[in-house]
Amino acid sequence: MSNQKWETRPLEIWARAKELRANWQKSVDESASAETLILADGNTGDLDWSVGFCGVNVIEDNPLGAMLASKSDSFARKCRLASEVRGWGRELCGYVNNCWGSQFLGYQIDNSEFPYRDMSIPFPDPCDQHTKRGQQCMDLSPIPRWGGDWPMYLGEDDPLRDEALIDHKVYYMVNTIKQIEKSFGKEFDPQVIIDNIGIRPQLEEYGLRVSQLMTNIPTPISVKDLYSFYTMGTLTKVDPQETLDFWKSFVDELQWRVDNNIAAVGNERYRWMEAHPPAWHYLKYYRYMEQYGAVCVGSQYSHLMAGPVELKEDGTLGHRNIRPAPKDVKLRTIEDAIRFISTEARGHRFKDDEYFRYDAITDFAKAYHVDGAIMPLNRSGVGCTLTRKEQALRLNAIGVNTMHYENSQPGDRTDMDEHHFFDQLDSWMECQGFSKLVD
């Protein structure tokens, strides 16, 4: 590599991550049987309570839709067409149209039969597409769908407002669990959730450490690599202790890399950030930018900046300052668990980006010593494009150069013009005075 400044080497944690992921996939495959219920969506907000049901497989449409777009453009297009001819709008999110298009086709990418869902629990609200999710499988056959709310308010802290909204959230979740028990005769075990809550602070601490270590120059990993790990224990369900062990090893390795100046990109000379999900079907732009010695250090999305992490006044990253849960509370029921983690309803991880935490984007840029930002403009999937233009303006105001590229949606490559995109990247970098270090 020309102009190499730092040593670079593969991550050792890769092997462990692959193993855990393979084990998870195997367990999903093995548990698939006539007795197993398939829960569509199931991304149940900030408390993954669906794991409290034994014999319930969760298949989320977002990662599935992204995977389809990434693995086979032609199959994803077939799926979207199957959705569109049935009336689903072409401006809908690609995740949704890919996943449910496969349902309408009746088969999956490997030609196996589509696993029809038994029930659906959408995760409402971060984006309207989430709110309306799961209606696709409900419309196909009359399966139960328990749509709920992500109650929230914007503006000043108001404990009274919190009370009603949190009560609503608790009711929705507890009621849904009861309904599942009643409808399917499944027993819910709150202890699994309580155990997960027990490891939550440690997991958040590890997550924060990863984010902090990536502020280092050179960054020990790029966000492209981070994306391979960050679903470990969440979307990729892993035993709680194994999850903790994995994240501890991950943090240790990153710390070692920072201590020894091991870089993600050996010739790092330009750090860029992005916003929200990248084009999952087109991650090669990360590598393309590395030809300029440019590394992506992530986004508010990848570093959970709009979740449990926030930037402190002294410029360091820390845990988000929210109303603490009562101390020494013994959690016994699912309601205890929900109330324990839901202490306030103010703000929202997507919707308040430009409202409640107006400066979060510029704080991020400062904390990560960012030179530029590449921000997608997605034609469909409202939640993936909202506020991008305003965020770019805010970054411009503090001297961070931004580039937008147009795409359909992170799970839909219809509008992606590869030639034009790379042309734009070249233009953008050249105008900032950079030429490629390697071809």
């Binding site: 150069n401 931004t402 580039m403 509008d415 013009d417 734009q424 070249d426 050249e430 105008c431 005075g433």
Partner: protein, 257 residues
């Protein structure tokens, strides 16, 4: 003497400019891009330049730019259009603060920082791409030359409006007007005004161009009615060089070493 050549391979046309040591234009020529035979067209046009000017090809330093720049296989250097535009803008106007390039396919806005570096770029979005092609199609449909089109628009009252958000809808609106036998000059004016709004939209996207120190480049700058409409809407008193359509090619040539 080193001969500096700039070749701008655009979507619609290929422009070649050759400059002498003092940056005077020795040769300038252009032709349609030639569709699938673009490489051949470039080679033929370049050879024609050499033949007519009697310039020795080996004495030339050639910089290629434009969307099809890599089709200029004999170029010494490839640069992006934005850099070429910025260079041309600085050449034409001392203390230039922004360059606006209105081409067949793309609209670019290139602000120049106080230190001469390039600022926050803005490009037309997909739904606003191909404004020049839209005008060409409409000229063709009405059997008008660019100049005739411009003259017609200038005489119109300008009361009709068309969709300026999407080029496809814009064309649909234009067909609708034609279908209703609306006056030709009003239709042309509506199209030109709509295109001007879309161009202004790109100018307002990031950093608004300076009112006094903005250079206007690109083939569409030859359309007087369009330029007037943009000026009226934006209030910008553009500096327009003698050959705005060659602006990007000249910028490329200026970067030849």
């Amino acid at each position: 003497m080193m001969i500096k050549a700039g070749i701008d391979v655009g979507l619609e046309t290929i422009k070649i400019v050759i400059l002498d040591d003092d940056n005077n234009i020795i040769v300038k020529t252009k032709t349609f891009s030639g569709g699938g035979k673009r490489k051949d067209t470039i080679n033929q046009l370049w050879q024609k330049c050499l033949d007519e000017s009697k310039i020795d090809a080996t004495a030339c330093h050639i910089v290629a730019t434009g969307m099809g720049k890599y089709d200029v296989e004999f170029a010494n250097r490839y640069i992006t259009e934005s850099l070429a535009d910025a260079t041309a803008g600085k050449h034409y106007l001392q203390g230039v603060e922004s360059i606006v390039d209105i081409g067949a396919n793309q609209v670019r806005v290139i602000p120049i920082n106080d230190d001469g570096s390039i600022g926050q770029l803005a490009f037309s979005h997909k739904c606003g791409s191909g404004l020049g092609l839209l005008l060409s199609n409409i000229a063709l449909r009405h059997e008008l030359s660019y100049e005739e089109m411009s003259d017609l628009a200038k005489s119109a009252k300008g009361e009709l409006k068309m969709n300026e958000g999407c080029i496809v809808f814009a064309e649909l609106d234009m067909l609708e007007m034609q279908n209703k036998n609306m006056p030709q000059d009003e239709i042309i004016a509506a199209v030109i005004n709509g295109v001007a709004v879309k161009i202004c939209s790109v100018m307002n996207d990031k950093v608004k161009p300076s009112k006094q120190k903005t250079v206007l480049l690109g083939g569409l700058a030859l359309n007087e009615a369009l330029v007037n409409a943009i000026k009226l809407r934006s209030g910008i008193d553009f500096v327009i060089p003698e050959f705005p359509d060659y602006g990007t090619a000249i910028g490329a040539a200026l970067l030849a070493e």
